[in-house]
């Protein structure tokens, strides 16, 4: 839950700013249309009227395009948010299944989740109201059940799948 709310709130700020702009634009256009209708009653053939009518038509078109673009932006943001939710759900499903496969106890699962979220032993102990020694022992048992050497490998176990196969090929080249 670190990066995604930022993306979402940035998107929200952006659409809010666009909407405010759209409101101001509409207000200006409505005034302009009122003015053009006033001119229409006076002298519809004057250059002044024709020019203003063209400008006003452009403004109206601008609003329609702005509205359409804003709709697209909002829908895009929603689609991204949904994709993120799905990915999140998928990842936690994977973690759930793996924890079951390792036959972790419920307490060990909780500790495992917290460790994956990046909390250290003191923080986990405080959250769970347990002694630090207990948490450390639970972590050790989790690592041995999972067959990993420590926390870094434990976290890497789940990240590895997401990275795909790009690493072994490109890493030696990058090192040279």
């Amino acid at each position: 839950m670190s990066a995604s709310p930022d993306i979402l709130s940035a998107g929200r700020r952006q659409t809010a700013a666009l909407s405010v702009f759209l409101v101001v634009q509409t207000l200006g256009t409505v005034f302009f249309v009122g003015d053009v209708i006033g001119d229409l009653r006076e002298d519809p053939t004057s250059m002044h009227f024709i020019f203003e009518a063209v400008v006003t038509a452009a403004l109206v078109l601008g609003i329609l395009f702005g509205t359409f673009a804003l709709r697209r932006t909002i829908e895009l943001l929603r689609a991204q948010d949904q994709a993120l939710q799905v990915a999140r759900g998928a990842l936690s499903d994977v973690i759930d299944r793996q924890f079951q496969a390792w036959a972790l106890t419920p307490a060990e699962r909780d500790v495992g989740f917290l460790a994956l979220k990046g909390l250290d032993v003191a923080e986990i102990a405080e959250l769970r109201g347990a002694a630090q020694g207990t948490v450390r022992a639970q972590l050790t048992r989790i690592y041995s059940k999972a067959g990993v050497s420590g926390r870094a490998q434990f976290a890497a176990f789940f990240v590895e799948d997401l990275l795909g196969e790009g690493v072994p090929d490109s890493a030696p080249q990058a090192a040279q």
């Binding site: 659409t15 409101v23 006033g38 759900g89 936690s92």
Partner: protein, 216 residues
């Protein structure tokens, strides 16, 4: 079991939006504040009153465009006016079992259309009363009168404007006042409706119209 995970409140597609889009929110609150100020605080015919009237007209027009071009739940097609469905919904409300709708519920939809019709009537009659004068023209006229040039007033009331036009303005004035009062009644009903629905649905209906639920 997995307590540390954030509860993934997955919105199912049938639920009302957790947050209305910014255009819906801006037009909603812009119109609400303008109507209240024009009804209670300022003087009819004043520069502020006419300006707010034009603002409401702009917001209303934008909402109409948004009702065609906007995202799903803001579009008219998401909440067609259907009095029968509205009555059915009200009956469900009495019995305490309400369905969730992806946009406005049928009763709320009728309320929205009633609001828009009233707003359109009030702005059009307002335009008739001022002769379609923009706020800039009203300001100019007021400035002219204030500086001692009364010709602006004479133009309005001399023999050129026919009886027909005068009676039209008079009618417009009557309609303007009646429908404006109707708007206030609708607003009161709307607020009451939001409270009743929120209780029946066990869901905060105000937050989606303001900033949405704050995520922790």
């Amino acid at each position: 079991m997995a307590a540390p995970r954030t509860p993934s409140a997955k919105p199912s597609p049938g639920d009302p939006p957790a947050l209305w889009d910014p255009v819906v929110r801006l037009t909603h609150w812009g119109i609400a504040v303008s109507v209240l100020v024009n009804a209670a605080l300022d003087e009819g015919g004043s520069l502020l009153h006419v300006s707010l009237g034009w603002l409401v007209m702009a917001l209303l027009l934008l909402r109409m465009v948004w009702g065609v071009l906007g995202p799903g739940e803001a579009r008219f097609s998401a909440f067609p006016p259907n009095p029968l469905a509205a009555l059915r919904h009200l009956r469900q409300l009495v019995s305490g079992r309400v369905r969730q709708y992806p946009s406005h519920n049928p009763a709320g939809a009728i309320m929205a259309y009633a609001f828009w019709a009233c707003l359109a009537v009030v702005t059009v009659t307002g335009l008739v009363m001022t002769g379609g004068a923009t706020p800039m023209q009203v300001a100019d006229e007021k400035a002219a009168v204030a500086s001692g040039d009364w010709s602006a007033l004479i133009k309005e009331s001399d023999g050129e404007s026919s009886d027909e036009e005068n009676s039209l303005r008079h009618t417009a004035e009557e309609v303007h006042e009646v429908v404006a009062n109707l708007l206030l009644i609708l607003a009161a009903l709307h607020v009451a409706g939001v409270f009743v629905e929120a209780r029946a649905m066990r869901r905060n209906l105000v937050a989606p119209m303001v900033l949405g639920q704050r995520r922790k």
